[in-house]
Amino acid sequence: MQQTIDPAVIEQVQRHAAAQKRRRQAVDAFMRVLAHVVLLLLSFMALIPAIWMISSSLKAPTEIFVTPIKWIPDRPQWSNYPRAFELAPLWLYFANTMIVCVIAVIGTTLSSCLVAYSFSRLRWPGRNFFFGLLLTTMMLPAIILIVPRFLMFSYVFVWPFKWIGTFLPLVVPTFFAVQGLYVFLLRQFFLGIPVELEDAARIDGASTFRILWQIFIPLSKPVLITVVILTFIQFYNEFLEALIYLKPATWTLAVGIRALNDAAYATSWEIIFATGTFMLAPLVILFFAAQRYFVEGIALTGFGGR
């Protein structure tokens, strides 16, 4: 059944289609502009508090306590920083923080690797029970442990000296894989490593420890870096436990600068902002140096420090 189509109708249809396409493009362009506007506004809100802190850390007091707000100081007061270091032993706090972070990172990665290997590759009675226990501890709110752990470190762990006031209450538990998240993460990764690799090494007479050290750990580098970064940030940030266990000589940055803030809240904003910038700087550097691992780590774990 042949039918001739009126050219006028074809033209009309084509015009209609073209108009529809134009409209769709206009809507798309509008949506894109809208998306940019929304994202720019949100990015501004995300960045402005920290930028305000950094800029205010370089202001003279007379530039802070004015309305309307002065966003950029006339002459950057670099001397605010040396003044902050005079008011509080910030280098001591920084060194303490680094000690805690480094030991905690070593303890967490070592113990988590061992336990993760056992849970992923070795078969022993009770394995599922203990793995279930580990998963349960991931949901356990830390607060329930705070009071008894304080008592434990005050009255039970007193050998060879009182643990309270030292770094030990913060870092010793990390050697016992009590953070289920990291064990879980490594276990999942270990499960994906081919059994053939391991069998070949075993036939060659390698010990289990050597297999872990020479096959599993090198292959798990990306996950390990993630664990290292997350642990580092966690202990860099640690506040409640550091507040309870440490004394002024062992204070980390988080508790040390908080004490300074308590003393100088009302008056010296520029000093407090300078100490805040000092504490923020290492993390910003770490972030831009290892951005890939931050993003991967979060996507892997569903956590990210907080």
């Binding site: 894109r32 940019h36 929304v38 994202l39 990015s43 995300a46 960045l47 508090p49 920290a50 802190m53 004015v66 309305t67 707000i69 113990s111 061992l114 336990v115 056992s118 849970f119 070795l122 022993w124 394995r127 226990l133 580990l134 501890t137 949901m139 356990l140 709110p141 830390a142 607060i143 329930i144 442990l145 705070i146 009071v147 008894p148 752990r149 434990m152 538990p173 016992f176 894989a177 009590v178 289990t208 506040f239 409640l240 940055l253 600068i257 908080r258 803030n261 308590d262 904003w269 407090i272 805040g276 923020l280 993390l283 931050f294 993003v295 996507a299 569903g302 990210g304 420090g305 907080r306």
Partner: protein, 303 residues
Amino acid sequence: MATASPARPRRSAFRRREVIEGYLFASPFIIGFLVFIAFPMIWAFVLMFQRYNLLRPPMFIGLTNVQDMLADPKTWQSMWNTIYYAFVSVPLQLALAFGCAVLLNQPLRGRNFYRTALYLPVIVPIVVSAFIWQRAYHPDFGIINEMIGWFGIPPQQWLFEPVLAKPAFIFMRIWVMGTQMVIFLAGLQNVPQSLLEAAALDGANAWRKFWNVTVPIMTPVIFFNLIVGIIGNFQVFAPALIMTKGGPQDATLFMVLYIYRNAFEYSKLGYAAALSWLLFLFIILLTIIQFRGSGRWVFYESD
């Protein structure tokens, strides 16, 4: 199975070694669990029935702590504050993070800049962010009043005003939504392209594709973050201690802060233990409710 059989003595020796090594390699966790988790939990349970102020030996007082706790208006005030804070901030935070993730999942110019900028608040240490926001909310010299002034809104008292203190904390919490955004972005990569194309063939527009394909596939991720977020936000502590010390008029006295006060400022360790068990039970209850409720609205691919 791996049972020892007399015909294969080498296999049995190998098996025995595996079991020994299994325990050996897992021993850090087994010991750590007993010493740093199980033992403190038992102690916390015993403490609940004791009066203990560190100066005198602990004394058993039965259920007095529990009775006092239930009759203490501050218990319920701090519980209400915590519920308010967690239940408002987590859904808002997840909604904003999800919206940003969906926007950033489009081929937009400057995507990496936006992603980095929106993520950066996460790396600000909690103590430092408390310093910033404590002053950002300052009635006279803070940036928040300055910025709402651009829209003609009069300056507010924020952290000095009981009604506004909690919303101020919630806003500060929403500011840190980069983690959730990155999780959602990763999840959106897993939405099968074939499903979206099939929906498009069936004539679904962008809005329908979003609600009927993307959102259902993302619900497990959203759900997981809801649980983790609420459990995490129930334990808010540092910002309240630093910025407001629980005030004004106990408006930001959250559970953990009240526990901390009882234990380390008032030296009422038994009472603090009772409070922490209350918080613990509440968190468990929430987790159970969320898992039960999830059956109705969470879509799992295997179903």
